[in-house]
């Protein structure tokens, strides 16, 4: 648990953004991992399996949030406001912009970008976590990166 909790927490936090919800999701991830440990196959690495559980749990939480929020509120706008509220007061502007840009991405691009950019996971491992081919992952990462850079350029000029 000590070995994986920090990496898993930040993976979940970047998806969910909200601190309390991320903590609950991390706890639920470990509990589910413990309860379903008999399903773990040794052909994949343990952290890959844990990432898969954490990702599924985080996406479930995001979907719940989207259902709960008002229909007239833009989900993307809501997440960007959440980023600003949860950021440290001394955080660099470019870093806050980057997180806002990530929240503007479609779900799959967001997941691929975060696992590749922050956790430096190989495409083969990401493929096992999100059930996508390596080629699709590379394409998604390329588009994600492009969109983020454009977002930052646009918002930085202002």
């Amino acid at each position: 648990m000590d070995a994986y909790q920090s990496r898993l927490y930040w993976h979940i936090r970047r998806i969910i953004v909200d601190g309390d919800l991320a903590q609950d999701t991390l706890q639920e991830t470990f509990i589910k991992a413990y309860q379903n440990f008999h399903q773990f196959k040794n052909d994949s690495q343990l952290y890959t399996w844990l990432y898969r559980i954490a990702t599924n749990e985080a996406l479930q939480q995001i979907n719940k949030l989207k259902k709960m929020q008002k229909t007239d509120e833009d989900p993307e706008y809501y997440m960007q406001n959440l980023v600003a509220d949860n950021a440290e007061s001394d955080a660099e502007e470019i870093q806050v912009l980057l997180q806002s840009a990530i929240q503007s991405l479609p779900e799959k691009q967001k997941l691929v970008f975060m696992m590749r950019y922050y956790d430096d996971l190989p495409y083969e491992e990401i493929s096992k976590i999100v059930d996508m081919s390596v080629g699709t992952l590379k394409t998604n990462y390329h588009y994600a990166k492009q969109k983020i850079e454009e977002y930052i350029k646009e918002n930085y000029e202002r």
Partner: protein
């Protein structure tokens, strides 16, 4: 300078400026964005994290994973339950009955002990002495003796004690009669001889 008109003055900047100033500024601004490379940006976590987060997580996970201690639950087998109930009923009945009989036995024993309760030694000595004194009187005086005895005994004594006293009294009278008969069988000379040898015994008998 009386005809000076500010409106007619040429608008000129008199400060020196570097050559191509504005071109350079525009280039710098654009290059700052255009040269932006996401890969060169430092990977940082910018979100606030509460203190002791991971300790709390570990504790909560352990609480969620470890089974709570529960009281053992036994499956109720109706056959065993019925057998236990019957055994309980019989056992309770037996215990209650044995208690009743022991109580009855105990009360009987208490009555018997009250009846057989030995009299104090002083009372027995007194009665013996009194009987000796009255032994010279005839046997018809038994009723009189009883009256005297009842007047001498304490007023607070119960009826059972009187009955016991009377029994003792009758027994002692009978013994006296036997002793008298036995003594009558001796001649005067034999009695004198016995008396000379057993003076001390007679005295002892008085106090027994």
């Amino acid at each position: 300078m009386k005809d000076f008109d500010l409106e007619k003055l040429e608008r000129k900047n008199i400060y020196t400026v570097p050559d191509n100033l504005f071109e350079n500024i525009q280039e710098k601004v654009l290059s700052g964005i255009n040269d932006f490379d996401l890969e060169k940006l430092e990977r940082k976590n910018i979100y606030k994290v509460p203190e002791g987060l991971f300790d709390d997580v570990q504790q909560n996970v352990l609480n969620g994973v470890l089974p709570a201690k529960k009281a053992p639950i036994f499956k109720l087998n109706w056959a065993y339950a019925a057998a236990a109930s019957v055994a309980l009923i019989f056992g309770a009945t037996f215990v209650l009955n044995s208690n009743d009989s022991s109580e009855a036995t105990g009360s009987q024993a208490a009555v018997a002990s009250n009846e057989q309760k030995p009299k104090p030694e002083s009372e027995i000595a007194y009665e013996t002495l009194k009987s000796d004194l009255t032994s010279v009187e005839n046997s018809n005086q038994t009723v009189v003796n009883q009256n005297v005895e009842s007047s001498l005994t304490k007023a607070g004594e119960n009826r059972e004690q009187k009955t016991v006293t009377q029994t003792v009294k009758l027994v002692s009278k009978k013994e006296e009669a036997q002793v008298n008969e036995y003594l009558d069988s001796f001649s005067n000379s034999e009695i004198a001889e016995l008396a000379s040898n057993s003076t001390q015994d007679v005295y002892l008998d008085l106090y027994n």
